[in-house]
């Protein structure tokens, strides 16, 4: 079959791009012809549907304006040469085709599951955000009717489609495989349980603040933050502030930190002793180096809010490392079984620190949970992912 993968091109090569690439190659391996129809986000017209954009909209609701521009572009994609369309990020689900399968990983999240904290964190004015949200949800409600079937990227994402759009009967779950799991599941697990890892693209929803706060309760352990991202400067600064002597850790409000409502930073930043922090920031590292970091880690801490999937948690598990996630961690809570292969705790620095402390104090517990984690990770194969994908294709072609 000719499968057309429809995708916005953000000019980045992130985790989702890797998943879509792999899906394309796997489909080709199975004898399908795969073509890609991409909409370059950078080249979109600035006035969607030919309506002049007022300054207020361009300034205060630009995500919604861009989204509408993308919608217009996806509606114009000619899919007549494809037998099946596989759409990806929103709003590519609006692409018209009678046999349209949507590989649905998330909504435009700031208008859905992230909406309330986004406004609470002061990123948008409540009234403005509400207007834009209404517009986005109106078009979504209509065009989410286009795909004949949805493959939700996780149980969490399937739940969101149900919660926000009332879609339940056209949905099954797709569990992306992991190249890291394939490459390392057979490795001998690292014998030592040393540093505490936090691996992510550190954007605001990832809540890396909690990791830094937790590490300050564990001064004898090294915390390593891997990855880059727009929230990292804020987190580094927080790390420096919390490393200053005499900080009352229990007085640090985690929700306030994340929602940008904590005390303004102290003016005298330079007074802190250089190198006093037990948290190290590596930025992005090559795969081989990341594997080394996973191998002897004590555990992975994944503090993200309503994570779509939790691929790094699965990868850490493949190395036999327990994972500490939070009760509002979304997809992460489907991967981590509390007390079995890690811990699911309240979203606070203190609660995360207590869970990490239990593992640090009891290497046997860490080892047991680590081997349970490996078993869990073993199910995240591309074999299974492609079975789920092919079942989805059958659903839309039957």
């Amino acid at each position: 079959m000719r499968v057309g993968i429809v995708k916005p091109d953000y000019g980045i090569a992130g985790g989702f791009e890797a998943v879509v690439d792999r899906v394309g190659r796997e489909l080709e391996r199975r004898g399908h012809e795969v073509a890609r129809a991409t909409v370059p986000v950078a080249g979109l017209p600035s006035d969607p549907y030919g309506v002049a954009v007022p300054e207020t909209a361009r300034h205060d609701a630009w995500e919604a304006v861009r989204y509408l521009a993308m919608l217009e572009a996806f509606r114009a994609v000619d899919t007549s040469r494809f037998d099946v369309v596989l759409s990806t990020q929103p709003p590519s689900f609006a692409t018209e085709h009678p046999r349209h399968l949507s590989l649905f990983y998330h909504h435009l999240r700031i208008y859905y599951d992230l909406s309330a904290p986004y406004v609470a964190a002061g990123f948008a004015d409540e009234a403005t955000h509400g207007r834009a949200q209404q517009a986005v949800r109106r078009v979504d409600d209509r065009f989410l009717g286009v795909p004949a079937h949805f493959l939700a990227g996780s149980e969490e994402v399937a739940a969101r489609l149900h919660e926000f759009n009332g879609i339940a009967d056209r949905v099954s779950v797709f569990h992306a495989g992991s190249g890291v799991v394939e490459a390392h599941l057979a490795d001998e697990p690292g014998p030592r349980f040393e540093h505490v890892l936090c691996v992510s693209r550190h954007e605001w929803p990832k809540r890396t603040e909690l990791f830094v706060h937790a590490m300050k309760y564990l001064p004898d352990r090294e915390g390593i933050v891997v990855g880059d991202g727009g929230r990292l400067d804020f987190v580094r600064d927080l790390d420096a502030r919390l490393s200053a002597p005499g900080v009352d850790l229990d007085a640090v409000g985690d929700a306030e930190l994340w929602l940008n409502r904590a005390e303004p930073r102290p003016a005298a930043r330079s007074t802190r002793a250089a190198g006093a922090s037990n948290v190290r920031f590596t930025g992005r590292v090559p795969d081989a180096r990341l594997a080394d970091l996973y191998r002897d880690a004590l555990c992975l801490v994944a503090p993200a809010f309503r994570e779509d999937y939790g691929l790094t948690a699965i990868e850490a598990m493949a190395f036999g490392r327990p994972v500490v996630a939070t009760s509002d961690g979304g997809g992460l809570t489907a991967v981590v079984d509390d007390g079995v292969n890690g811990f699911v705790v309240e979203p606070t620095g203190a609660a995360i620190a207590a869970a990490v402390r239990r593992l640090a104090d009891d290497p046997d517990l860490a080892r047991r949970m680590g081997s349970a984690a490996r078993e869990r990770a073993a199910s995240f194969t591309w074999e299974r992912a492609m079975r789920e994908l092919e079942a989805g294709i059958e659903r839309v072609t039957a």
Binding site: I12, F16, V51, R66, L68, Q133, G166
Partner: protein, 379 residues
């Protein structure tokens, strides 16, 4: 469903009213696109698989109707018109560039004659110098100036110090493996022109690929052979020129093209195309001079670099010489961020961020780029 249950509708304010009016207008237009009524419907019996075997007549009809629909309605969008104009302008530029290249080729042919004459003179001079040196050595006078071998050793040491450790390079080279793995035709043997310290050959060997290095620097050749790698001591261009047609699966050259004059660069591409079998892969990596720090300073750290090769020009040249599926990939950003990092799914930058991104690109962005191209599958 559409109510802002999380944020509420908020108090009406003049700006939000303007915003609401605008959004309403766009959303109405978006919703008025009623595809299932306006667009041709697919055949009712959708169970007929389309495209497998001979398509059913009604599928053809459906496709034809879709085509007609697009032809009829698309020009309204203006976008297409703009695209068409853009393509026409590009075609014009391309034609102009072709003429320029043709002129350059003529000039080069003329220069070639002159160069040949000079080379002959130089060779004679060389022979004379060596005769004199030998005579001087006989009478016990030390000859000043560095020998070829001394220079080779110096350059090997220089690479060791400045190009990064072998481990760093090996990790960076892993980027290319998926291209070999994804190739529909056999990419073996991989011939690496200017194989240097052999990191690529070693990586290929460890993954089970058959690979041969071609290297002129004897110090490097000795080092690689001692490590069990297959390397020939030869000039890469000469080697390629004498390789049987369609005898090679993939050709790579890392940090080579910036050492070549234009004529030799064109030769490299011509000979590579000939030596590759149909569908074979070409990989060229070279410094990215659109990163200002590279273009202004770091490029010239290596005294044997001639001039930076602009990614657009190299891509153009590859296409001009007959390669297809020509891609440019920017690599090795100073700050380690993903190449060409831009707005994410829900954290895209403001205009100020975009400006910052441009500055980042110019100062802390990719230091190298790769040109990846293929010989056409047929012919």
């Amino acid at each position: 469903m559409t109510g802002g249950d999380a944020t509420g509708a908020g108090r009406p304010m003049p700006q939000t009213d303007e915003l609401a009016e605008y959004l309403d207008a766009v959303v109405e237009r978006a919703l008025a696109d009623e595809p299932r009524r306006n667009r041709p419907r697919p055949p009712d019996d959708a169970s007929t698989p389309v495209g497998s075997g001979v398509p059913a007549a009604r599928n053809l009809a459906y496709r034809a109707a879709r085509k007609a629909y697009h032809l009829a309605l698309r020009p309204q969008m203006g976008v297409n018109e703009e695209l068409r104009r853009g393509v026409a302008a590009l075609q014009g530029e391309q034609a102009a560039a072709r003429v320029e290249i043709a002129t350059l080729r003529d000039q080069l042919l003329a220069l070639q004659g002159e160069v040949a004459g000079l080379e002959l003179g130089l060779a004679q001079l060389h022979a004379t110098t060596e005769r004199i040196a030998a005579a001087l050595e006989k009478v016990g006078v030390e000859v000043p100036g560095a020998s070829e071998e001394r220079l080779d050793a110096m350059y090997a040491a220089f690479e060791e110090e400045y190009r990064g450790t072998s481990d760093d390079i090996t990790r960076a080279l892993e980027f290319y493996l998926p291209y070999l793995e994804a190739s529909p035709v056999d990419v073996q043997p991989v011939v690496d022109i200017g194989s240097g310290r052999g990191e690529w050959l070693r990586l290929l060997g460890s993954r089970g690929w058959k690979a041969v290095g071609i290297e002129v620097n004897k110090a490097f050749v000795d080092e690689c052979r001692a490590a069990g790698l297959t390397v020939e001591l030869a000039d890469g261009l000469a080697w390629l020129g004498s390789a049987p047609p369609a005898s090679v699966g993939a050709i790579s050259a890392f940090h080579l093209v910036e050492h070549l004059e234009l004529r030799r660069l064109v030769d490299l591409l011509d000979n590579a195309l000939r030596a590759l079998r149909p569908g074979g892969l070409l990989i060229l990596e070279t410094p990215n001079a659109t990163n200002l720090a590279v273009g202004a300073a770091n490029f010239y750290l290596d005294p044997t670099h001639l001039r930076p090769v602009h990614p657009d020009f190299l891509a153009f040249l590859a296409r001009h010489c007959g390669f297809v599926q020509v891609e440019v990939k920017f690599l090795h950003p100073v700050d380690g961020r993903p190449d060409g990092a831009g707005p994410g799914d829900h954290d895209a930058p403001t205009p100020a961020d975009q400006m910052a991104e441009r500055v980042r690109w110019a100062l802390a962005g990719p230091q190298d780029y790769a040109l990846i191209a293929r010989r056409p599958a047929a012919g």
